[in-house]
Symmetry: C2
Amino acid sequence: MQKKAPRMANPQKLERFVSTALQGAGVPLGDADLTASILIDADLRGIDSHGVINLYGSYIKKLLSGKIKSKPEIKMALGSPTTASLDGDNGLGFVVSHRAMNECIGMAKKYGTGWATVCNSNHSGAGAFYVLMAARQDMIGIHWSTGGSTVAGPGGKGRLIGNNVFAMAAPGKTQGPFVLDMAPTMAIANKLHMRQWEGKSMPEGWAIDSEGRPITDPNLYFAEEGAILPLGSTASHGVHKGFGLLLVTDILTGLLSGDGGSMLRRKGEESQAFCALRIDAFPTGGEFKDLMDVMIEKIHAAPTVEGVGRMRYPGERGNLTYKERSATGIPLRQKVVEELWKMSAELNLSMDDIWQK
Amino acid sequence: MQKKAPRMANPQKLERFVSTALQGAGVPLGDADLTASILIDADLRGIDSHGVINLYGSYIKKLLSGKIKSKPEIKMALGSPTTASLDGDNGLGFVVSHRAMNECIGMAKKYGTGWATVCNSNHSGAGAFYVLMAARQDMIGIHWSTGGSTVAGPGGKGRLIGNNVFAMAAPGKTQGPFVLDMAPTMAIANKLHMRQWEGKSMPEGWAIDSEGRPITDPNLYFAEEGAILPLGSTASHGVHKGFGLLLVTDILTGLLSGDGGSMLRRKGEESQAFCALRIDAFPTGGEFKDLMDVMIEKIHAAPTVEGVGRMRYPGERGNLTYKERSATGIPLRQKVVEELWKMSAELNLSMDDIWQK
């Protein structure tokens, strides 16, 4: 296991580089810029599993092979003043997801709330980005997305359901924003990859092999078609709750969008759902941001056991990391740099100019 | 520990008895009948922790002492075509919750979706009832409610946040309905009570004492102001995810309703939120119920490890129990019967007529 310190990339330069790479794979300028900004946002927030780490393998290679359409024709149909169904035409998940949340925000401005489903989509990166679009407009943003079908059901053996996402953001006044962006599972596959690269084992309870036996070696997970467990992990610890939440995402994304969700995938790789809720559309919403500050202060003041440090609200670490990395740059692991090198060779790009001075 | 077989009560007779008791505590006929039907519904579905077990302690005693108003004046204000804020005037949580979900359904009929928040409310029983109201109208019903403040934050000691509820229901065609009704925590306090009565210990990871040390004796939880842990239980098993979901409920119920949620409780004991989503308001919603059936069939067909039996969808056991108990009656534990006896003595009621023949 070779381990080097990560190299620091300059966020703006890396973003331009990513956009150029996407354009090199046939993506139009606007879509490439948008996708690059969402990927860099994830890296800035410290969501390393959803940033440029996936650029080559999950997007560029698939664009080049035609598995993802570079110039999709996104279709949208409205069914009521507050509901829309979008079809991503098998393009990048980022582009149709961004469009869908924008539609939700527009509907919420007029009618209080907005909902949109997306089928025929692909991986759309970190959910944090989309829900923050709403929070910046003084709305609550909610987002669900199917994820790779890597997860077992309770008592099951083998992969059954997606590592599905739930995300929500809400603005504070001086604190926040609150950003929860999670899969109701024990881990996501990229976390297992990182442990594999680092030669680390997994905690007990994260995963099982294809026969349903508990495993802690990430290599076994990949070699033997293992499965990740829903949040809760075991019957006595509430694995049915994690599984229920995974199904909620499949219902709101896949079933409402006509795709069928992570267990059926009839219309593309992934499906998504978005919701925006205008805070001042609630007659009682006037104090919302003040109450958000009070809630966060209460979390910070909560007594903790020795050695644990101050309790944090969801998104706090990401908000801090965003500020830090905006100044210091984005650390790229050796493994990621190597991937980007390979990609650069294929696309005839130079990486010389992406580094932090 | 005395243990007798539970006695079987007749559902219709028990419902009338519950309504009579509520009327005896000053609740008007319509509200009493409604509340009784919601409590009996929970018992029929097998949600024993949210049925008549709570009648005396959580409702009748509080109605008699004036802690809950028997004749509240519920107020509602609309802020947009799809959003409403309700104030329960410190009446029974059931009544205002039922009204709020009905408003959501009405808004969804007209505009596709409907949202309502409720402040100044009280315990409203099992969330399953409210979300099923929407599912019966071919809508997706979603519900959040604060719960008793019995839960610690990650790494915390002492009680910080409510044992908050998330519930969702969706209709199937020949299968279902899907009904998820859960708290993203390791357990609810009533489950600890039941273990205490039965002289059973708790699984490791459910609770901590006031110093943050793990405990498995439910008596210690009650004697020492212990705290229940969020779903996930430990850092490596995702306790921050459970905590994040608890905060989501506080934000959507308490912060949007002006109450402040389970950590502040400025306007009453509990606050709630409701959402109804009309399925055919989504242009892609036409196949929804068929896809729901396919999803459920896929869950049933999933291979499981030996000895575990067939995998179930959320609500399946409740749907079955509902049918069973409608025929055989509702089993009442000795402890619950004793409570109802005490209540009957206080209200001068007879329980002779509630039993299954």
